[in-house]
Symmetry: C2
């Protein structure tokens, strides 16, 4: 009845609950499911925008309708909490619709820090009606990292960023899918609740006990290194006042060979901390490459921009400017596709392959 297993359920038909929080950052879970699993979404539930479409309110999801009650989506099997509020608590106003979903025998999927399955009223409703609760962040990780058994022929990539909620998951999924379209055996390694809902597996590392973060990430890598390329979803940034612990554990657990830096031009401060300026891209790169020296060494091989707030001309100009400043390939995956990103990764893989034939393994 209650579970943490993130396994993707075959034939799921999702309603995404965003009620009143439909900006693309707050509703990033909903946005990403609309972007990457559109065939499995039947509606967005938001009484403040009834009758409009997902594309109208979130910029993605095409004609998927916005509805104001579950009864308007009779075939739905899952209600997904579509926002990631700071602090991770479910808004009180959403309890009635969660209870209604359970009463309909639906599965309610939540990525919040507060587990729905710890709420006696919700558990009772699920038990009574045959509904299910899936808390994607629930985990019992207790393994430490060991730095043993890694397959160096599998190229490990990590998306990193200058801040939270900046596009690291999007860049990782876009890159993985673009590699797959070029027939590369690539796998997206989800490390956050939204990525897990998209991919159907992964580990919610920001919810892991701090002693076991590095170990949980290393375990993900070991489990999937039969693929040729792993694209690990980054979290926050190692310069972040709040979440740097998560980001460094991820770096040292994933032990990436290469990193993709994600940035949003124009973002000046850490989200929610207007008094803390964002470090420059150069400082962020230097910090990551320095700390990666302690996990085998790594370099930033490309930059992915998130230009959602810019017009096309400004976006193109920023892209050129940043490329010239950093001397790195710069892509804008949502606006212009991921070809440049894939080219950079393929050049990096080729250089690694050459190095492997001429040097001792690292």
């Amino acid at each position: 009845m209650s579970e943490s297993a993130p396994a993707r359920r075959a034939g799921r038909r999702m309603v995404l609950l965003t009620e009143g929080s439909c900006d693309p950052v707050t509703a990033k879970t909903a946005s990403c499911l609309l972007r990457y699993c559109p065939d499995e979404v039947v509606a967005v539930l938001d009484g403040t925008a009834t009758g409009r479409t997902a594309a109208d309110i979130l910029g993605v999801g095409g004609a998927i309708p916005v509805i104001d009650r579950l009864a308007a989506a009779p075939g739905a099997t899952e209600l997904v909490i579509g926002i990631a509020p700071p602090g991770g608590r479910v808004p009180a106003a959403w309890r009635p619709v969660i209870l209604e979903a359970l009463a309909r025998g639906m599965t309610v999927v939540s990525g919040l820090h507060d587990f729905l399955a710890d709420d006696p009223e919700l558990v009772a409703a699920a038990t009574r009606h045959g509904g299910r609760i899936v808390d994607v962040r629930r985990n019992d990780e207790r393994d430490v990292a060991n730095r043993l058994g890694l397959r160096e022929a599998c190229t490990r990539l990590l998306t990193i960023g200058t801040d939270c909620s900046i596009g690291k998951m999007v860049a990782a999924v876009e890159l993985t899918r673009a590699l797959q379209r070029r027939r590369v055996d690539a796998k997206f390694i989800a490390t956050g609740q939204t990525g897990i809902m998209v991919e159907g597996d992964g580990c919610p590392i920001d919810r892991v006990i701090s002693d076991f973060v590095n170990g949980a990430v290393e375990k993900l890598v070991l489990a999937h290194q039969h693929h040729d390329v792993l694209v690990v979803e980054g979290q926050a940034t190692i310069t972040h006042p709040r979440y740097s612990a998560v980001s460094l554990g991820l770096l040292h657990g994933a032990q990436p060979h290469g990193m993709i830096l994600v940035h949003e031009p124009g973002r000046m401060h850490h989200g929610g901390l207007p008094h803390v300026a964002l470090p420059s891209l150069q400082r962020t790169i230097a910090a990551y490459e320095h700390m990666a020296e302690f996990s085998g060494g790594s370099q930033v091989v490309a930059v992915a921009l998130n230009t959602r707030l810019l017009d096309a001309d400004t976006a193109a100009r920023e892209r050129r400017r940043i490329g010239a400043e950093l001397g790195l390939p710069v892509a804008d995956p949502i606006r212009d596709g991921s070809d440049d990103l894939v080219d950079a990764v393929e050049r990096f893989r080729a250089a690694r392959a050459v190095a492997a034939t001429t040097e001792a393994p690292r």
Copy 2:
């Protein structure tokens, strides 16, 4: 009956359980309680060394007896699990004595990752006989760091190290007590289970959910910054393959002005990871000072050596060599006292005070 509150209980009379694990590293909880709270320890419980003294088997604790059963310490009020095993699980062979302690109405204090209060048999025994279970690592930290409200006139110091179990807690307690002897209003900020048992307050940050590590540490600093100096207990190291997440969250949450680097001369590899070489002191310092740039800046102001495995001559030679190499004051607190450490800190505080009158606050 079961609690996490680490508050030091007045009049506690402790038996330290180390049964068969009496080397000073594995039994570091016992060693530190013997060193810093000797008046509150009535016995060490270890059937493999009955009749000897604490000093015989752990090198500290003087004539405190080693006993083989609780009945030999009839006045004891607490049984403390005295070891910190990797993985954090209580050895099965210890259950009978834990049950016996609860049956005697004693308090059982554990710093393990596995909570005794999650064990139905132990809880039943406590309930039946009026015993108590205190799981020092239990916490419900859910606050994020905000970088607001820090009192810059309070000097924040952090002990850092080149590895785990190397003496960061010892250096922090020794420095705090030495400052207090010079009438400085200093406070030890415990961040691990042993430190919490010694000090009676603190937060077990390696057991905090990773998203909230930075916040839990910042909260400790905010709660105690009415003191003139805070000496924050370090954990692991930001270069550690397993635990770097904990260490970086601690650095960015504590936002130290100065750091004390703890090292054990002769240690070549990370504990438990013989295939992972320890970085040099220089590389460790550079990594910490680089990452501290993102929390206001910090510098290493002194080094504290742990020379327990060296003879006096070698220890003195290492101390001189490292001082010359790094250009930093080097102390050997357990062997030679903390005067050099305190002098270095007092010079650092004086320089900060001068800077505060001539510069804008950082």
